[in-house]
């Protein structure tokens, strides 16, 4: 089965992901792509507690880029999570093929501009998303499966 969701969410594994998207997509595995967390055992313990019923895998961006095609062909349903737009950009930039990225939760910060209730982007985030969109990646905002899907054009024009 393919990767069933690529999501940018700074809280990574939490209720919206495990209950909201999890009940809809029934993933067997959550893959957290993050260079810092891949080397941090205490963070891995905390995040793994959020999805007790599924396998949780932590990997660096470089390792994830090598395994991306393999995850798409394995017989398990995977959700790929990054906590920043930059990490998702690092994962998908130049990969080709069709990817559908969900922007799920980036909260307020001093250098972030609010674009949706659950989405605050930096200027760099906007640039990275534009580049990915130019490479054929479909990007939209959506906190939960039953929430309205907001296309990238609408997000960037807000």
């Amino acid at each position: 089965m393919p990767v069933v969701l690529y999501r940018v969410d700074e809280r990574l594994i939490h209720g919206q992901v495990v209950v909201g998207w999890g009940h809809e997509l029934r993933p067997d595995r959550y893959i957290v792509v993050d260079d810092d967390i891949a080397e941090s055992s205490w963070e891995q313990e905390l995040y793994a507690l959020g999805a007790p019923e599924a396998e949780v895998l932590f990997t660096s961006i470089a390792q994830a880029r090598e395994r991306l095609r393999m995850w798409d062909t394995e017989p398990v349903r995977s959700v790929v999570l990054t906590r920043t737009v930059a990490a998702m950009y690092g994962l998908l930039d130049g990969q080709g093929g069709h990817f559908d990225v969900n922007l799920g939760g980036l909260h307020a910060g001093s250098d972030r501009i609010p674009v949706l209730d659950y989405l605050h982007l930096t200027a760099r985030d906007r640039e990275d998303l534009n580049v990915l969109a130019g490479q054929g990646v479909t990007i939209s905002g959506r906190s939960l499966p039953d929430a309205p899907k907001v296309p990238l054009d609408t997000i960037l024009s807000s």
Binding site: L12, G15, W42, L49
Partner: protein
């Protein structure tokens, strides 16, 4: 800190959720750690007022752990990353243990007592006391766990197996719910006495919930309140 944690939702908002309440609960610790440096104290308060969301009954685990981190002089990046990482598990575990298990278990037991003839006031008091024994005990335990564990609270939480505790309590909950349904169906003052109109409304609400899922609860709740109010006014003026 435990008392302050009781009002952690006091200024809940969509932007920072529990953030401001979290900083308020942590303030005594921050003053103790940064008391001589007003700039560092201000930065710490600002840092802890940022977005934070977890189950309020388990938030003391995060408060205790972060109090320990700040007291031990952890750098601000570690504190921020811990704060973000701890939200998910504390939200999920709290929802499962408190909202989906402990609260309904105590409520169902109280309703069973009432249907077996216990006085209403006594039942209400029993419910409040028993629920809060568990709820406040959980908060106190969580705060101690966080203070003892600091950054490594994840391993202690895994060992505590709160999910397993919830699963063990769900058996008695299902039993209590079955007993309650039985007495409501069998009692002469139960469903048999409420008449076909209310049974019809109940069935309609069940069907709407079945078809619409959780999206239907808000309009269904509004409709229910309107219908009850209409019946109340009708009875008053007819």
């Amino acid at each position: 800190m435990l008392l302050r944690s009781l009002v952690i939702q006091g200024v809940w908002n969509y932007r920072t959720m529990l953030g401001a309440g979290f900083a308020f609960a942590l303030l005594p610790t921050l003053k103790r750690v940064f008391g001589d440096d007003p700039v560092a104290l201000g930065q710490a308060i600002e840092r802890h007022s940022e977005h934070f969301n977890a189950h309020p009954s388990l938030a003391p685990i995060a408060l205790g752990a972060i109090a320990r981190l700040e007291t031990d002089g952890a750098d601000s990046d570690t504190v921020r990353r811990f704060r973000t990482a701890v939200c998910g598990p504390l939200g999920g575990l709290g929802d499962t243990l408190v909202w989906a298990t402990w609260l309904p278990l105590v409520a169902v037991c109280a309703l069973v007592l009432y249907w077996f003839g216990a006085p209403g006031g006594g039942v209400a008091l029993t419910f409040v006391v028993v629920y809060n024994l568990g709820h406040l005990g959980l908060r106190a335990w969580g705060l101690r766990l966080g203070l003892d564990s600091g950054r490594d609270v994840g391993a202690r939480l895994t060992a505590a197996d709160l999910g397993g505790v919830a699963r063990r309590l769900q058996g008695p909950l299902a039993l209590g719910l079955g007993v309650l349904c039985g007495v409501i169906l069998a009692s002469p003052e139960g469903l048999a006495a409420i008449g076909p109109v209310w049974v019809g409304f109940g069935s309609l609400a069940f069907l709407v919930g079945l078809v619409g899922g959780h999206r239907a609860w808000r309009p269904a709740a509004v409709l229910t309140v309107v219908v009850i109010a209409w019946f109340g006014l009708w009875g008053r003026f007819s």
